[in-house]
Amino acid sequence: METSVRYSAAAANSDSAKSAAGAIVPHMKILVIEDDLEAAAYMTKAFREAGIVVDHASDGESGLFMGTENAYDVMVIDRMLPRRDGLSVISELRKRGVNAPVLILSALGQVDDRVTGLRAGGDDYLPKPYAFSELLARVEVLGRRKGAPEQDMVYRVGDLELDRLSHEVRRAGKEVLLQPREFRLLEYLMKNAGQVVTRTMLLENVWDYHFDPQTNVIDVHVSRLRSKIEKDFDRPLLKTIRGAGYMIKDEG
């Protein structure tokens, strides 16, 4: 059922780089601070196949040095690191004025990682074990954050329009009626248009629960939303990325 994650996500990445004219840098550059060399090698290879430039540091001190010296779009930092633990690397980076988004990888069996991690200055958090597709989707969303239309009041994808103030959705000028939760779902998808968002990211950002939805709950909601915005139209906008999640995008 699950597809080879890396290829589909890589395709999505290069597509989005092409389509979002100018607003997005063609190559994202990230720093991975991870002491498990095998995991780091796998991650580095997979990120590179997805068109991302990766630097790797294997302990906290060298990671801190590299993070301060070079400009990265995203940093992926393991919590348990030799020579300086992950959270202290993050807070030290923040103290030195490095504002690149940080994704924290938790150690196994840790409890309040998410809360303490975000408090220390992290922007996102992923508990181990994770699927690489999940990590990639999150890193891409974090890396594009700079260009994301945070202050845009109207999101547009093709002929689909979402007005964040009046909570109105139109497709080709025709109003589409959505439930409040469907509106938030669409809003999140459109905010990250052209990027893969995973089911877990949707549950986090739309329902505010931070765990892996083990069944098809999210799929059912997405397919309801899809039927509402695509019912009377030929061109599909909301795509299912097999093995990863969803993406809203205008193919035209």
């Binding site: 699950e2 069996g109 409890v111 309040d112 699927a131 939760r181 629960y209 069944t215 709950v217 909601h221």
Partner: protein, 470 residues
Amino acid sequence: MIQRARLMFRSTAVRLSALYILLFALCAAFLVFYVTAMSERLLAQQTRQSLQEEVMDVQRAYERGGVNLLLRMMERRARQPGANLYVIAGPNGEMLAGNVASVQPGVLDEQGWTGLPFSYEPYSEVERPGRHLAVGNVLRLDNGLRVMVGRDLGDPGRFRGIVRRALMVALTIMGVGALVIWFGIGRNALKRIDRMSAASQKIMAGDLSQRLPIGKSGDEFDRLSDSLNAMLGRIEKLNEGLRQVSDNIAHDLKTPLTRLRNKAADALAENREDVRRAALEGIIGESDQLIRTFNALLMISRVEAGSIAAEMSEVDLSAISADSAELYEPVAEEAGLSLSTELEPGLIVNGNRELIGQAIFNLLDNAIKYSAGGKGEPKICVKLARRDGAFRLSVCDNGPGVPADRRDDVLKRFVRLDESRSKPGTGLGLSLVEAVMELHGGSLELSDTHAGNAEAPGLTVTMVFPAPKP
């Protein structure tokens, strides 16, 4: 014997009794000194008073009959047994009459009380030779004669000695008695503790079914043994559970790992690209399921460890229930079920929103999974109500239900009533819900939705939260 005595002294009972005896002795000593000092003071006061009266008698006699009457009176009084001391001295201190041979020089110079005790020599050396101590009152007559009435201090001193000796004897008897009694108790306690240690040794050696001996008296030792036995029972049960869980883990992980291995072998042997791809996708699917299982296991152990309790805050049960129902309503509909809600608004508990949410999700997952396509009415429900000082959140279905004798089992990790494992799932859902309820100080109740219906009794799972104290 010495070994034994040393062991005895190490026992708490003996050490405590030694401490008590010391404190008791200090109190008693204080008491002795206090009693004697008080009685001495009383005696001194009486002495002063009688001497004062006598001096006044002397003065009156002198005024009435002059020196002659005075001498006669004093001679008479001095001859009585146990008499006071009487002295008549000339203006220069030379002894003229009385029952005293000499007094400490200077005593007779001052009129009134002599204050400090002074020494004197009695006239008759027969009774008690040597120098004696006395107090007295000196009167100076108008013709220059001096008269002193005094009393020997030997008697009060002896009185004090008697009182002290009596008290000391009583004290010694009490102390020795206490010592003997406490030694008896200490020995008894020591023996019982020895028996407890022997039992613990056996338990440590691995025999968890051993229990500490309990007497009939129900005293502190019995209560201690009782609690320790309860603790051992719990440890034994946990140990048993742990063993069962590891057996289940081994079994439940072996199956998907074997499948994984077989699929990988198939993919390796496959030449057609599309079939190989499908096999690889299947491998990823199996791996994801394994990761889920591990995540769920880790989650349960985190919750059970209780360290997640740090993230407790006020959460709106009503809102979480409504959210969950809203989240699962389309899923239920897709499975051909209708989802109804009956939620009392504004029920707030102190808890972890994430965990409660996940628990409800798990229950709804189960309800949908086991109701879909069943014989019962295609309906599931979520109810939240306040009853008997508790908030009761129920998720009900009309599925095959769980027989009453299997309800404890389904809460255990990896236990699934469906032996064929035909429905997807980890077998950990209810275990997590139970762990979450334990963390919140609540409980989990399983019951039939329709008790009479043998075909599809349905299952109602109720999360019982203790209502917060106002």
